[in-house]
């Protein structure tokens, strides 16, 4: 078997034991890697009802056949666990040298189970695993922890670590790596923290098994150069993702004031042009030439790495139009290891709830100083407010009452990314049916909706487009494990990816094989969800109610007077279910599961819930 190491490393923190477990071709071909491995392992090994922050939850780091191979842009790793934020399968990806080192150490995935008896750092070098004390950095942020690790092992090792947010089990704490990378929005950092696992360090010294390493090297390095040339030609990296802010503002899709408004006259103060002018350095992931991380000096003089989601949700959405202050909020999230998107939505919801009398407090939109204080409180679970904020917007809304859940900007518990879908029906659907909650990774169809359809349409073409993109973005890139940016931002051909896959594995897969695998993995996430929420209804696939509220319509601008319509959204949702082969709760039917080779998993699900 080429392309896979064929091994998974299982580490038990309670017993301080580890073992190398092998898998065969059947498992490899069915689940491929990354998200596929993670969802299957968690489905088989973490029982429904398990406390996500208890020792029986498992933390997974998983790679795919092209991860760590020199090719565009393969320096990514999937991190996954049962989510403490959403209560079912959660995951994310981040740029890290773990992608290369774990594979070179001889593993395609790492499973961490149990709970350590003291703050611990795992050090993995090939067949050796050490359980080292991390008391020295427990209580410290991700930058200091990263430096401490580099001081011990050098800068070339693979690192996954957490900050105070993860230690204190903030439910949207992320895993961090390198200087600015973060992943695992639905609380993967909190799961590490619950296990007293401060960091994972990996060093591998063997070659990654490939069918034709010479051919892959020539193909991959050549293509890295080509991607770089396209980037230079188009100028994408001048602003990287941050150019999206101006676009969203133009088309009334920007989150402003907890998504109540869609545009703001001061948004230019934090846009991509200003960011590029303020740039002090640029960072990227391993095996990447696009380098999308733009750093600026924040108000305190620290380097803060920003992308669109950061300026959208910590800036516009909080009505903070001072780039250096937005930089501070972003720096604090990175230092504490909190998801910047959820943090932005949690703070905006808190300000909105105070505005609407659902709770009392002294936080107002635009107050950057108070926002800094609240981020610290949320990361450390300081006091009643800190604890409340650390639990995420859905739990906050349930604590506040007063119908505030309507404007808690989340789906299935995961906060919405920085796109205001008050009147963007297809993207609202993309958030609604994103399998782990409102993540923008799965599908993003705003330019398609505006350029190629009418914005008013709720037709099946939008549901079909969401599925097409889910298969690519949430599917193929997450199980091969590579960054989607060369394709989405520079138009790098999708057909390159089966080429890379086939070169390392000696298989002969087509894109259709990729889509079939993607559908299998999506169905597995849905089964995972169903087991935890057996009484689920299609309402779980609805975006926040405020987007349907006519009193929340813009008073002026391109979508004045318009909001989403419930009946039409429901018919769009039905188009999605029909095309997917899901029932009217949004769960794959038995026939769909059978077609995807999931009979055994379906039978297991039926012990907890009904399938149709």
């Amino acid at each position: 078997m080429y392309g896979w190491t064929g091994n998974i490393l299982r580490v038990n923190l309670t017993n301080k034991t580890f073992k190398k477990e092998s898998f065969g071709e059947e498992f490899a071909h069915k689940w491929v890697g990354g998200r596929g491995f993670a969802v299957k392992i968690l489905y088989d090994e973490v029982k429904p009802g398990t406390d996500p922050l208890g020792p029986d939850n498992k933390f997974i780091a998983a790679l795919g056949p092209i991860a760590g191979i020199p090719a565009p842009n393969t320096g990514k790793c999937v991190v996954a666990a049962k989510s403490p934020l959403t209560g079912f399968y959660g995951d994310g990806n981040l740029g890290t040298r773990v992608s290369e080192h774990l594979r070179k150490a001889g593993y395609d995935a790492l499973i961490v189970e149990g709970k350590a008896d003291r703050p611990t750092m795992l050090y993995i070098q090939d067949d050796k695993v050490e359980f080292l004390p991390a008391d020295e950095v427990w209580g410290q942020g991700t930058y200091a922890t990263n430096d401490w690790i580099y001081g011990k092992y050098g800068v070339g090792v693979g690192v996954l670590n957490i900050g105070q947010g993860g230690e204190n089990m903030n439910r949207y704490a992320v895993v961090r790596s390198l200087e600015g990378r973060a992943g695992g929005r639905p609380g993967m950092g909190a799961v590490m923290g619950s296990k007293l696992l401060k960091a994972i360090v990996v060093k591998g010294t063997h070659p990654i098994p490939q069918a034709d390493p010479k051919a892959m090297k020539a193909l991959g390095t050549g293509d890295l150069k080509k991607v770089h040339e396209i980037d230079l030609e188009t100028g994408w990296s001048k602003q990287s993702t941050t150019g999206v802010l101006s676009f969203c503002n133009e088309v009334a899709g920007l989150p402003v004031r907890n998504f109540r408004k869609t545009q703001h006259p001061e948004s230019w103060k934090i846009d991509g042009e200003r960011l590029n002018e303020a740039r002090v350095a640029t960072y990227g992931c391993p095996n990447c030439t696009m380098r999308c991380g733009i750093t600026i000096h924040d108000r305190e003089g620290r380097e803060s790495e920003l992308d669109y989601e950061n300026i959208g949700l910590l800036g516009a959405n909080l009505e903070i139009f001072d780039l250096a202050q937005v930089g501070c909020l972003n720096y604090l999230c990175d230092e504490y290891g909190l998801d910047t998107m959820s943090t932005g939505c949690v703070l905006s919801f808190y300000a909105d709830a105070i505005d609407h009398g659902a709770t009392s407090g002294d936080f107002r939109f635009g107050d950057a100083e108070r926002a800094k204080h609240l981020i610290r409180m949320a990361a450390h679970r300081e006091g009643k407010v800190g604890n409340l904020l650390a639990d995420g917007s859905l739990r906050m809304a349930r604590a506040f009452g007063h119908s505030s859940e309507a404007y808690a900007m989340q789906v299935k518990g995961l906060e919405v990314a920085a796109y205001n879908c008050k009147f963007i029906p297809g993207q609202a659907l993309a958030f609604g049916v994103a399998p782990i909650g409102a993540h923008h990774r799965e599908a993003w169809i705003i330019t398609y909706e505006i350029k190629h359809t009418t914005r008013e349409s709720y037709g099946p073409e939008k549901a079909a487009k969401v599925i097409e993109l889910q298969r690519i973005r949430g599917g193929m890139f997450e199980f091969l494990v590579a960054c989607r940016f060369p394709w989405i931002e520079l138009g790098w051909g999708l057909d390159n990816y089966p080429k890379y896959f086939n070169t390392v594995t000696s298989l002969n897969w087509t894109l259709d094989d990729m889509w079939n695998t993607a559908d299998r993995i999506y169905s597995m996430i849905k089964l995972n969800y169903l087991r935890e929420y057996p009484n689920t209804t299609r309402n779980a696939d609805y975006p926040p109610a405020v987007w349907f509220d006519p009193s929340n319509a813009d008073k002026e601008g391109p979508i004045a007077g318009k909001v989403l319509e419930v009946d039409k959204y429901d018919s769009l949702l039905q188009h999605y279910y029909d095309l997917r082969g899901y029932d009217n709760r949004g769960i794959p039917t038995k026939a769909t599961l059978k077609q995807l080779g999931l009979d055994q998993e379906a039978a297991q699900a039926e012990r907890f819930a009904t399938l149709t």
């Binding site: 188009t234 001048k238 676009f247 133009e250 989405i488």
Partner: protein, 75 residues
């Protein structure tokens, strides 16, 4: 007639400005505007007029705000 043009992302550096008012003759189409601001027509892009998509052959009107953006894909 006067048109306000807003460029987004890398187009700013290509055309040398981010936002300005320009005088165009009556009968100018969205597509023809691109020649006036030195944006190659073949470049993948999305154009909006007052926040709504505009087709290449549509006639511009006095006071329109036209934005020209690369095809972003949402990160």
């Amino acid at each position: 007639m006067k048109i306000k043009v807003k460029l987004i992302g890398p187009l700013i550096y290509e055309a040398g400005f981010s936002e300005k008012d320009i005088e165009v003759p009556a009968g100018t189409t969205a597509d023809a505007l691109l020649d006036l601001i030195a944006i190659p027509k073949q470049r993948p892009k999305i154009m909006t007029r007052n926040g709504k998509a505009v087709a290449p052959q549509e006639l511009l009107q006095d006071g329109d705000k036209i934005s020209v953006s690369p095809i972003y894909s949402g990160g």
